[in-house]
Amino acid sequence: MPQYAVIIHSPAPADPAALTPDYLALLERYPAQIEELGGKEIAGFALEAGTTATSIRGDVVTDGPFTEAKEVVAGFFVLEAPDLDVALDIAKLNPACADGGVEVRPLFAWAPDGRA
């Protein structure tokens, strides 16, 4: 089954300690919804606030997330789903979609002979 990275974008600074009780309640229901729609979460991570990030471009080190934007990456999870339609249905239910959004991106699958 194909796997997708679901990358969560939330309004900066996206501090997980500042999540509202409502958001946390939605998040708690999410794994069951994923299963129900025919997907499987392989692994998932939440990130510390964007203000804790350090970026390096070339040899320049700067304080903050890599791209300056209203939203920053707040976390990601690896989703296994039968196809993109199912993956998108699952992604749409992520609570981050309410005030930020998510990016669904297929994981690159290496072919057995090493070629793509």
Partner: protein
């Protein structure tokens, strides 16, 4: 073109979508399917010269393309490593058999090309290439981009379908209305691109218009119970029926009221009207059916303007858009006079979504002209000319400007 080349060209026009859709189901890869179908059409020229044109050219071409695909897949295992198009696990038919029954997968192909995960411009390009079989250079010319740009757009889209696993299937009932709307939008966009070329000379790119109408017909044959498909075909036919009268011998725009009605295609108008009526009878009218009904009223003299306004009210409820509101104002001008309409247009001018839309100042200019407020009209015509990007339309606006300036 000799008789045989004509038979192959004919099969290309009629059967391309069917052959490609069936082949893609077997290959699980659109690129490979496209290549094999192209080869099959080339092979047809020789084989049909030798053996005569088969009774079912579509079945012959599908079997030939499929056989080529299976050969390639067997010879080069690397294709297998590619992520395949997802096909629902139903009993796969052995298309290499001499069976005549080949499943019709055209709807799968159409819905895959118009998948919402693809950008609209990619949906349009894919539909022309894969469903209509239009060659890439012709698509690039129609959309005024370079050939490499269009080729890259197509490659990127096909790669995304494979890598992201956009499924090769007709959406289920829950998603169908939204997904069908995307398909209809693509066909409508093809039509409008051809009907009013967005820039450059020439008001109609007849090829695109005809492709759009053919697609709408194909879709209606495949989905006869969808009133909006009927509505779209009706709208295209009714609008296109006036094509010959829309421009004069010099290519200048002729307004509806001034068009030579003997140039209208009355058979297309009758067909369009019947389709629109049938769509209304289902009781599930959508925006295309209502637009078609409006277009059919425009084809009658004298036009029943109050009824046109009523249909625009219905359309605004289904599809609340400032562009619809502007068109409604034009009908209001005919039904209730330019003064009432101008008040509505001024209200719409405050809507940011219409900023840069050249029909807004053009409509405003026309209403001011009819109210003999010539100086204001001239300013509005100038604003419209600055925004218009079609030569024929710009020329029309310039002639109106000259009229109001000379008073």
């Amino acid at each position: 073109m000799n008789e045989l080349e004509r038979a192959v060209a004919d099969a290309h026009r009629r059967e391309w979508a069917f052959v490609l859709a069936a082949t893609a189901r077997v290959t699980g890869d659109l690129d490979l399917a496209e290549e094999c179908v192209q080869d099959a059409y080339l092979a047809a020229l020789d084989a049909w010269t030798r053996d005569g044109v088969p009774g079912k050219p579509g079945a012959w071409l599908t079997r030939t393309a499929t056989r080529k695909a299976l050969d390639l897949l067997r010879r080069d295992k690397v294709f297998r490593a590619k992520m395949p198009l997802l096909v629902e696990p139903d009993p796969e038919m052995d298309l290499t058999d001499a069976t005549d029954e080949i499943p019709d997968d055209r709807l799968r192909l159409i819905f895959t090309c118009c998948h919402p995960a693809l950008a609209r411009e990619a949906q349009v390009a894919l539909t022309l290439r894969l469903v209509c079989g239009v060659a890439t250079p012709d698509i690039s010319r129609a959309f005024l981009v370079s050939e490499p740009t269009m080729a890259a757009r197509l490659t990127r889209a096909k790669k995304k379908i494979a890598a992201a696993r956009i499924p090769y299937r007709v959406p289920g009932p829950a998603d169908l209305p939204e997904r069908l709307d995307a398909v209809l939008s693509v066909i409508h966009l093809l039509y409008t691109t051809g009907h009013t070329a967005p820039s450059g000379a020439g008001l109609v790119r007849a090829d695109l218009v005809e492709r759009a109408i053919t697609l709408a017909r194909m879709l209606l044959a495949l989905m006869p119970d969808e009133p909006e498909v009927r509505g779209l075909l009706a709208l295209l036919l009714l609008t296109d029926a006036r094509r010959a009268a829309r421009t004069d011998a010099e290519g200048r725009l002729v307004l509806l009221a001034d068009q030579d009605r003997s140039l209208w295609d009355h058979a297309a108008i009758a067909e369009g009207r019947d389709l629109a009526v049938a769509a209304f009878r289902t009781g599930r009218v959508g925006r295309y059916a209502v637009q078609a009904a409006i277009a059919s009223l425009h084809a009658v003299t004298p036009t029943d303007w109050p009824q046109v306004v009523g249909l625009y009210d219905l359309l605004l409820r289904i599809w609340p858009s400032p562009v619809v509101a502007l068109n409604r104002a034009v009908a209001v001008a005919m039904a209730d006079g330019p003064e009432t309409a101008l008040a509505e247009v001024e209200r719409l001018a405050a809507d940011d979504r219409l900023a840069g839309y050249h029909y807004l100042p053009a409509v405003r200019a026309d209403l001011l002209r009819r109210l003999s407020r010539f100086e204001e009209a001239a300013d509005a015509y100038r604003a419209a000319i600055a925004l218009a990007d079609n030569d024929a339309e710009r020329e029309f606006l310039q002639s109106r400007l000259a009229e109001v300036v000379s008073g």
